[in-house]
């Protein structure tokens, strides 16, 4: 194998428990987003657009959908003779084997893969964020600072800073301190979970970390603090632009809604920085004579006869005459029949909402007491469900996959 300047390692094994039903059958990076994408399309497309052609994808939780989605990587032009995309699940060695214990352990267990390309730099990415970023500029910055490690940071509102990993930096952006979710933050520069390391040094730290039985084997908790303690040259790289963690049902829903502004911060229509995905073979959407659509994103294969407002519709969704969809996300091939009313809901793949059904009632007095997304106001409907005619499903309710719902929930 030829030497590569940079190999990207994409951490895609997370379960994403806070996404509830959305990650019941798929790993978080495989969760559908934005009317045709999956979350992992964003880091993979960023790699392709940044000129990084060797990407290891570390998988663990519910990998089937993710593996089949990535395939040989041709959707992102990563089916390459020298390099390309590699799916790297945990494996068994001569003397046993283990699941990935933490983010650092996942990379440690794949040292051989990275060594194969003997890169100068390793770029660590995660599959939980929606953003468009040119990693090559971050790598250039890393090289210019002669850094051992560079961490991408973004300014967050001060009142939210205590939810993030915060970097305290000197005026020249050299990182002096890292605080995980500080109560009284001294900076509002949050780590984006994107790191560039010099490979020889990272390898040394990973090996030491693996030998330490007390370690959590985590970049944020172990590797970064140890490097700081040793006074390694570590720099913060400031990113300006749209970046959103989609770790909860609420933030996931918000990130989808963010796309619907007339001029959204994240521009999916920018031909210079396209987000690539595996495209289904579906015809253009048909919009019926009585349809009304506004502030929405609608994908191929949809048939719209009713009203759609401020919503995201994935491929092959049917919306019957007189149906009303508002502030919602409708997954592929769902069927919303005539006169159904859907407000602030996420409807799962292939679910049928029969005529006259009401989902996500705005009447707060009938709020469903669900512990999963308490007060988010978002109603979550699973896959392959049939919701019978005229059923009322209250706001905040969560209905699991499969089955028939014939009475109010």
């Amino acid at each position: 194998m030829g030497k590569k300047q940079c190999v990207a390692m994409l951490l895609a094994g997370g379960q994403g428990t806070r996404l509830g039903l959305l990650t019941k059958r798929v790993a978080k990076p495989a969760v559908p987003f934005g009317g045709k994408y999956r979350i992992i399309d964003f880091p993979l497309s960023n790699c392709f657009n940044s000129g990084i052609d060797t990407v290891g994808v570390l998988t663990q939780y519910q990998p089937l959908v993710l593996h089949s989605y990535i395939g040989i990587g041709s959707a992102w032009d990563l089916d390459r003779r020298d390099g390309g995309v590699y799916v790297l699940p945990p494996y068994v060695r001569e003397k046993g084997g283990e699941w990935y214990k933490g983010t650092a352990d996942a990379i440690y267990q794949n040292i051989n893969f990275i060594n194969m390309y003997n890169p100068d730099y390793v770029l660590i990415l995660s599959g939980d964020h929606i953003y468009q970023m040119d990693y090559s500029m971050m790598i250039d910055y890393h090289a210019a600072q002669k850094a051992e490690a560079t961490i991408a940071v973004i300014e967050v509102p001060w009142e939210e800073a205590s939810r993030f990993g915060i970097m305290n930096t000197a005026a020249n952006n050299r990182i002096e301190e890292f605080e995980e979710k500080p109560k009284n933050p001294r900076s509002n520069l949050a780590s984006m979970g994107i790191y560039v390391f010099n490979w020889p040094l990272l390898r040394k730290y990973l090996e030491e970390d693996a030998a330490d039985a007390d370690s959590d084997n985590d970049f944020g908790k172990n590797i970064i603090p140890k490097m700081l303690d040793a006074d390694q040259r570590m720099y913060a790289y400031r990113f300006r632009g749209y970046w959103k963690d989609v770790g909860t049902v609420e933030s996931y829903w918000e990130a989808n809604m963010d796309l619907l502004a007339d001029r959204p911060e994240l521009d999916l229509y920018d031909s210079a920085w396209k987000i690539y995905s595996v495209s289904p073979a579906q015809p253009p959407q048909y919009v019926g004579p009585e349809a009304q659509i506004a502030c929405s994103m609608i994908s191929e294969g949809c048939q719209i006869f009713g009203q759609v407002e401020n919503s995201v519709l994935f491929p092959g969704v049917y919306v019957g005459p007189g149906a009303r969809i508002k502030d919602s996300i409708i997954m592929p091939s769902a069927r919303i029949e005539s006169e159904a009313m859907i407000t602030r809901a996420i409807i799962g793949r292939k679910t049928v909402v029969e005529s006259g059904t009401g989902i996500g009632h705005t009447d707060t007095e009938t709020e469903h007491q669900s512990p999963v997304n308490w007060f988010s106001g978002i109603t979550l409907i699973g896959e392959n469900l049939v919701i019978n005619s005229d059923t009322k499903v209250k706001r905040n309710a969560v209905l699991s996959d499969g089955g028939v719902i014939s009475s109010g929930v």
Binding site: S279, P283, I298
Partner: protein, 373 residues
């Protein structure tokens, strides 16, 4: 269907498509919001289980090659079989340039293919067809040639023109008894789909013998002239078929797609229609969008008014613009306040602010590729 190979014959008459075929063969005309005509026959072939397809190219086929490339989108980038481009050879022995000629020049491809049967088709008559029952009928009837046709009956041909069509007559056993190419007054309502299944060796013999006797056309010289000596059968195709031979028929058949039943049948009946993927984002409807009875492809951003129209991938319709009874091809842009009615905008056309263009239903205006108005 592993016994059948496909040949797509691009020698089709495109005289009546005016500006639309100036820079591209008929097969590469954009159709139905995101496809080119050839996608339908290619997808029908692979959905029917054919995995060896030769494209008999003609004229300026750069845009077609750009579209087909390795054939990956149709699952035809294969180690064994797959997609073959059969180039047109100019300045050949007889100095003529015809499909029979080009097929003869590419006879080695036919000879070295392993499948005993060949399905030969053009691209301008399209549907969502399953060729498997045709193959079964061909075997059952021990036919030499099975020609697909559409029987419009006595009542089914409203809005269907037989202008420049090939018409056939069959007997009670579906044996073809007469073929007329471009009759001025067709006798019946059975229109040839210009697709036929034939024994590969028989095709090779016919090409060889017809060319050496001065023939030039596969349809006229190989088929019509041997109508009586061959076991020549018809096969009636049940569903929707569109024939695109003129600007008017292109316009009408496009507008057929605004009928949800035809939309459903053409795109889903026997399998999906595949095309080159462009990775466009979903269509975006802005707060002041008003879209009625239209077909919209991904990548469109709509702020204006769209009615009874077809928007291809990446079209922008700005605020207060109106698109009525029109077709706007890939990356077209209709600026604020502009109006287009009964217009076909070819690729990359920009209609600047406030401009108004109106054609007639039976004579739509065509705006040539890349024009700025």
């Amino acid at each position: 269907m592993k016994n059948v190979m496909g040949i797509i014959n691009l020698h089709e008459n495109d005289d009546m498509l005016r500006e639309m075929t100036r820079y591209r063969p008929l097969a590469a005309i954009p159709f139905a919001g995101r496809y080119r005509l050839i996608d339908f026959v290619l997808s029908n072939m692979i959905n029917s289980g054919i995995s060896n397809v030769g494209v008999l190219a003609k004229g300026n086929y750069r845009s077609l090659m750009d579209h087909l490339r390795s054939g990956k989108e149709w699952d035809l980038a294969r180690k064994r079989d797959g997609l073959f481009i059969l180039p047109s050879v100019n300045g050949s022995l007889i100095g003529e340039h015809s499909d029979l000629h080009d097929l003869h020049n590419n006879l080695d491809y036919l000879k070295s293919s392993r499948q005993p049967y060949v399905l030969m088709s053009g691209s301008h008559i399209l549907g969502n067809l399953d060729y498997r029952p045709v193959y079964e009928a061909h075997l059952a009837k021990k036919a030499d040639v099975t020609l697909l046709y559409k029987d419009y009956g006595l009542t089914g041909r409203q809005g269907i023109s037989f202008e420049h069509a090939t018409m056939i007559e069959v007997d009670d056993d579906d044996r073809v008894v007469d073929i007329e190419i471009c009759p001025v007054r067709p006798k019946g309502n059975k229109m040839s789909l210009e697709m036929f299944l034939i024994d590969r060796r028989l095709l090779i013999d016919l090409v060889d013998s017809c060319l050496s006797r001065g023939g030039s056309s596969v349809a006229r010289d190989c088929l019509m002239k041997n109508l009586e000596s061959l076991r020549f059968f018809g096969y009636s195709i049940p569903g929707y078929v569109a024939r695109i031979h003129s600007v008017e028929s292109y316009f009408r058949r496009s507008m057929d797609l605004l009928n949800p039943e035809i939309w459903q049948e053409l795109f889903f009946e026997n399998g999906a229609i595949y095309t080159k993927v462009k990775d466009e984002a979903p269509a975006k409807y802005q707060h002041n969008a008003d879209v009625r009875n239209s077909m919209v492809a991904n990548g469109c951003v709509i702020s204006g008014n769209v009615e009874n129209s077809i928007l291809f991938r990446g079209v922008k319709v700005h605020p207060d613009a109106r698109v009525v009874n029109s077709i706007v091809m890939q990356k077209g842009e209709i600026s604020a306040g502009a109006v287009v009615e009964n217009v076909i905008c070819d690729k990359d056309v920009r209609i600047m602010a406030g401009k108004k263009l109106r054609g007639e239903v039976n004579h739509p205006i065509i705006i040539e590729k890349g024009t700025v108005i």
